[in-house]
């Protein structure tokens, strides 16, 4: 369940309900922003069935990758 894709808000539009245009790497769609009232153009949101359900915390995103990168590189080829 829960096909949620991160996209960038490019503009806000009038409601009701509050809507916006979100860009997904060159594909744009109208998205309902009712559930991310704090989000502004330029922010990234997770979009599920045409609704933004969460704002992407960019610092946490970076931190997650940094933590993984800190794991010593595995020398073995992944088998299988």
């Amino acid at each position: 369940m829960c096909l949620g894709i991160p996209g960038r808000i490019v503009e806000l539009a009038e409601g009701p309900p509050p809507m916006g245009v979100v860009d997904f790497d060159g594909v744009r769609r109208q998205v309902c922003l009712a559930y991310t009232p704090e989000a502004r153009p330029g922010d990234y949101v997770i979009v599920h069935v045409g609704f933004a359900i969460s704002r992407v915390d960019e610092e946490e995103a970076v931190r997650t990758l940094a933590v993984i990168r800190a794991i010593p590189g595995g020398m073995d080829e992944v088998s299988g």
């Binding site: 369940m1 894709i5 599920h48 299988g80």
Partner: protein
């Protein structure tokens, strides 16, 4: 794509796999709840890379939609005045005698929508038709479905209604943990469900059942990191709720979404296909919005159905059997001719297995390095 591609990095995936192998001293069993997670795991062969037994949970709202709910949908969709709208996944789920796609072939007005607001728009634009929306999903989809109902009410759309078939995750996890023969030792909780709901509901579960629960995302690195966090807890004897998907999930969830869900829906008992009724595991419309209930409006609320005992969908949804254990898997039951829901939905465990080419004699899980992985074989 930003915030997606970075979590598919092969070098980082290798590191996580190596770290998991370094950490585990026993073959732990971890269940991922969400169908989207199952999809990634099976398609990317992640379960075959790690010495952890991944048990695939009932994380596909399509698969767990009870037979009678599909039959109700079919009855409504067959009416000439109805425009029946649904998410794509539901169109191929078999009811007792047909599925929505077949009904469409016979002339029913069945339409796929990406967003429930499309259904509302159709209702607005076609006042002479009854527009019905099939509101399926876990908690992730509830805010969207709730908004459709709210809009219907605010715009006074008398020709709009919803057939509600929502299911909730924590009661399902409890049912699994309570079942005899349960082998799940840790959970990867569904990331987007938790983006909406937060993870406070999981804290009592972790404590009561002494199981680690890691809120996990959907990309390969997310799943591998989630597994790593889970097995670290298991190795260290901890049983806490941790958040791997920190970039999208906060402990309190999404307050605006929660507010709307609670206004439009209330918790009810719900039947899960193949499992039975799990108390307080579903959603139904509150009294304020009862007028929008399609089951009542079309008089199908008492439609019932019975499953055939031969189909082991229930055990698969509970994670106690693998698709490859089923006699019908790959023979009588294929995505082309599905016998049960887990073979129909792209997120269903059986379909995921079949489309990844898992053969009927495949050895379940990789419990150590050097496990043979079969490809091809009789299907």
């Amino acid at each position: 794509m930003k915030y997606l591609d970075e979590y598919r990095d092969p070098d980082l995936a290798r590191r996580l796999v190596a770290e998991i192998r370094a950490v585990v001293t026993r073959p732990w069993s971890v269940m991922e709840v969400c169908g989207g997670q199952t999809h990634t795991i099976v398609r990317q062969g992640i379960d075959e890379l790690i010495p952890v037994r991944m048990i695939h949970g009932p994380g596909c709202p399509v698969c767990v939609t009870p037979l009678e709910m599909v039959d109700r949908a079919l009855e409504i969709a067959a009416r000439p005045e109805v425009v029946f709208t649904s998410y794509g996944d539901m169109l191929r789920v078999p009811g007792t005698t047909a599925d929505l796609l077949a009904l469409k072939a016979r002339g029913a007005d069945v339409r796929v929508v990406y967003s429930p607001l499309e259904s509302v728009r159709l209702a607005r634009e076609h006042p002479d038709r009854q527009v019905v929306f099939f509101a399926v999903g876990f908690e992730t989809t509830a805010p969207a479905n709730a908004m459709a109902v709210l809009r219907g009410a605010e715009e006074g759309l008398a020709n709009f209604s919803v057939l509600v078939s929502h299911v909730l995750v924590p009661p399902a996890m409890t049912a699994i943990l309570d079942s005899s023969g349960n082998e799940v030792q840790a959970f990867l909780a569904a990331g987007h469900v938790c983006a909406v709901m937060g993870w406070t509901e999981y804290e009592p579960l972790a404590e009561r059942y002494r199981v680690p629960i890691v809120v996990t995302g959907f990309e390969p690195l997310d799943l591998l990191e989630g597994v790593l966090m889970a097995v670290r807890q298991l190795e260290e004897g901890r049983f806490e709720v941790e958040n791997q998907y920190a970039r999208a999930v906060r402990r309190g969830g999404n307050p605006t979404a929660l507010q709307t869900i609670r206004r439009v829906f209330r918790v009810s008992d719900r039947a899960w296909r193949g499992i039975g009724v799990i108390p307080r595991s579903g959603l139904e419309l509150t009294a304020e919005f009862a007028a929008f209930d399609a089951a009542a409006r079309f008089g199908v609320a008492d439609v019932t159905a019975r499953e055939h005992p031969a189909c082991i969908a229930g055990e698969i949804l509970r994670g106690t059997r693998l698709p490859t254990d089923c006699v019908a898997y790959g023979t009588l039951c294929t995505p082309r001719h599905p016998l049960g829901a887990p073979m129909v939905s792209a997120e269903g465990t059986c379909a995921a297995f079949h489309n990844a080419g898992r053969a009927a004699f495949h050895n379940a899980g990789a419990l150590g390095p050097g496990t043979q992985r079969s490809q091809g074989g009789p299907r």
